[in-house]
């Protein structure tokens, strides 16, 4: 079989597995798989910026969290139907990205990382401090899941809803990455000056990547609000942003599948190790260090290295 046929076969097998999952897993595990899907999307959205455009953001929780808060505020405080709150949340995430992007794009490298961090912390401190609107660190409970003629309160039903949304978002991301825009973004990652010399409006491409990335993070955030039926300021906190960054690096930046695997693995490990030992933070830290030592390009980098070696 050719490499292309192989990858198609793998994708189909993975899809079948994902669809069949609720049939042979306990309810608890189905819920965990739902969370893995949500964070896979969150990590992929960040990778559009980090891996494809070469801009490391330490503030991605801002768009994730602001979408989650939009859902919660509309559904709980304003009694808007939960299904309508979803597109509204994406719009708010996109607008936040569109406003923050010109500020952040004034800088590059570590300074870009710091501005994105600073802007996200401002959003966090609003959510944390504005108690009359957001309940501060108590958060907003009782976020109702949407009802499209069938209830999503059932764990399996919500799993399929999430799978469908994450699936569509992933297809859109793949389309973006493979489009001429995606190729231009990779060119910018490799050399901004060269792309500029070739006549590309670098700033505009980076702006578009930033807003798209924020919007997809918003999809993940809105799903997570439904998933937990709760939002709190920790959704917006720098630790959440850092975790997304770690998911991308662990899986392998610059691919979509890498960050998705990294995210799934971290969500799974956090759950699995914390059920085994109370020292799960220690174990997770050791795993991060070991993975970096043995696979500095992430898990996908490791797989590619092995493949290249066996091809020789």
């Amino acid at each position: 079989m050719t490499a292309r046929a192989w990858s198609i076969a793998v994708v189909i097998a993975a899809l079948l597995l994902l669809v069949a999952l609720p049939a042979f897993l306990r309810e608890y595990s189905v819920a965990l798989a739902t969370k893995m899907l949500i964070f896979a999307l969150f990590a992929m959205s960040l990778d559009l910026l980090l891996g494809y455009t070469g801009l490391a953001s330490l503030g991605h929780a801002a768009y994730f969290g602001i979408a989650a808060y939009t859902v919660a505020l509309l559904v709980v405080n304003a009694n808007v139907s939960s299904g309508l709150a979803f597109p509204a949340a994406l719009a708010v995430a996109a607008v936040t990205g569109a406003v923050f992007a010109p500020l952040a794009l004034r800088a590059r490298g570590s300074y870009f990382l710091m501005i994105t961090f600073a802007l996200a912390q401002v959003v966090w401190s609003v959510a944390f401090g504005w108690r009359t609107l957001t309940n501060g660190d108590d958060g907003i409970p009782n976020v109702v899941r949407p009802n499209f003629g069938f209830s999503l309160d059932n764990t399996a039903a919500f799993y399929y809803f999430t799978l469908a949304v994450v699936g569509i978002a992933t297809l859109a991301l793949v389309a973006i990455v493979k489009s001429p825009v995606g190729r231009a973004l990779r060119g910018i990652r490799e050399s901004e000056t060269r792309m500029q010399a070739l006549g590309f409006d670098v700033w505009r491409y980076q702006y578009v990547a930033f807003v798209l990335s924020a919007t997809f993070a918003g999809v993940a955030g809105a799903l997570y609000a439904y998933y937990n039926r709760f939002v709190g300021p920790e959704y917006l906190y720098v630790i959440q942003s850092a975790e997304a960054l770690i998911m991308v690096i662990l899986g392998g930046a610059g691919t979509l599948i890498g960050p998705a695997i990294g995210a799934g693995l971290i969500v799974f490990l956090e759950d699995f190790i914390s059920s085994m030992t109370q020292h799960w933070v220690l174990v997770l830290g050791v795993i991060y260090v070991l993975v970096t030592l043995f696979a500095p390009r992430g898990l996908i980098g490791l797989v590619n290295d092995v493949r290249r070696r066996s091809a020789k």
Binding site: Y111, A118, A242, L282, G285, V289
Partner: protein
């Protein structure tokens, strides 16, 4: 008069932040490593100080032990875990994040989950009377230590041979190496020194802020804010940023308790938007 007290409190906290941020900033300036383990150096340093005080009763011994132990730990991490990823930011970030997790859990394991206070050393117990108020000597001592360290670092950077090498390394590590400067040794020394300053801050903070699980993440974020405001790699920036953040934080907590952190994060965002490289940073 309350204003004076608030400013003094802010400056005292700012000096602790300066000790943290100076190391963070120098390490970044020289090696381009965003050292997330810096929060652990602070907390574990503080805890080591606590244990030494409990064993020996001596605050001075506690300072020496904590600084020495954490300097050694920093050197080991730089040599064996970070050196191999020189100028490769993503793996470096992941390694320092891993160690932040590891030390956070080890500290919880060894020293428990309850907040613990160090006693104020006997020499600095009591307060300086100031009109209707009294101001604790220990906080004045913190301000003095901060000033001494700032002066010492300035002297080191501007007046010593090693400091000149450091500045050369910050400007251009490749050229510095070509000129025969042992950049490799310099990296380890500066990383260890930065770690030691964080440990010093941890022990000194013990009697005022107390030590507790999660303090490592908290001070890391504060130190990060300071460095962001001041500009990466600049000592002057670290000092200015630390004092500004210390004072803003104190006034925020006193006058807008609900929006306490808002008073720190919003000015940070405004400064960055106006000057993306921070107050004293260079592109």
């Amino acid at each position: 008069m309350t204003w004076v007290i608030h400013i003094l409190n802010g400056v005292a906290f700012g000096m602790l932040l300066f000790l943290l941020a100076a190391g963070l900033s120098l390490i970044y300036g020289l090696m381009k490593i965003l050292n997330l383990t810096h929060g652990s150096f602070y907390l574990v340093g503080g805890y080591i100080g606590l244990s030494v005080v409990q064993l020996t009763g001596s605050f001075v011994l506690a300072l020496i032990a904590a600084v020495a132990a954490i300097a050694f730990l920093g050197a080991v991490i730089e040599r064996f875990f970070l050196r191999r990823f020189h100028l490769d930011e993503l793996p470096q970030t992941l390694v320092t994040f891993g160690f932040l997790f590891i030390f956070s859990d080890l500290a919880l394991w060894i020293w428990g989950g309850d907040p613990q206070m160090l006693n104020v050393p006997r020499l600095f117990q009591g307060s300086l009377p100031m009109g209707y108020y009294a101001y604790p000597y220990y906080r004045l001592f913190l301000i003095a230590v901060g000033l001494v360290v700032a002066l010492g670092l300035w002297w080191f950077q501007e007046r010593t041979k090693l400091g000149t090498m450091l500045r050369a390394g910050v400007d251009d590590a490749e050229i510095a190496r070509a000129l025969g400067i042992n950049v490799s040794l310099l990296f380890t020394l500066i990383f260890a020194a930065g770690a030691a300053l964080a440990a010093l801050a941890g022990v000194l903070a013990g009697p005022v802020l107390s030590l507790y699980p999660g303090a490592d993440f908290e001070v890391l974020i504060f130190a990060f804010v300071v460095v962001v405001i001041g500009g990466l790699g600049s000592l002057r920036g670290a000092l200015a940023g630390a004092l500004l953040v210390g004072i803003l934080d104190d006034f925020g907590k006193a006058f807008f308790p609900q929006f306490a952190l808002f008073t720190v994060f919003v000015p940070m965002a405004v400064i960055l938007v106006l000057r993306p490289t921070g107050l004293f940073g260079r592109q």
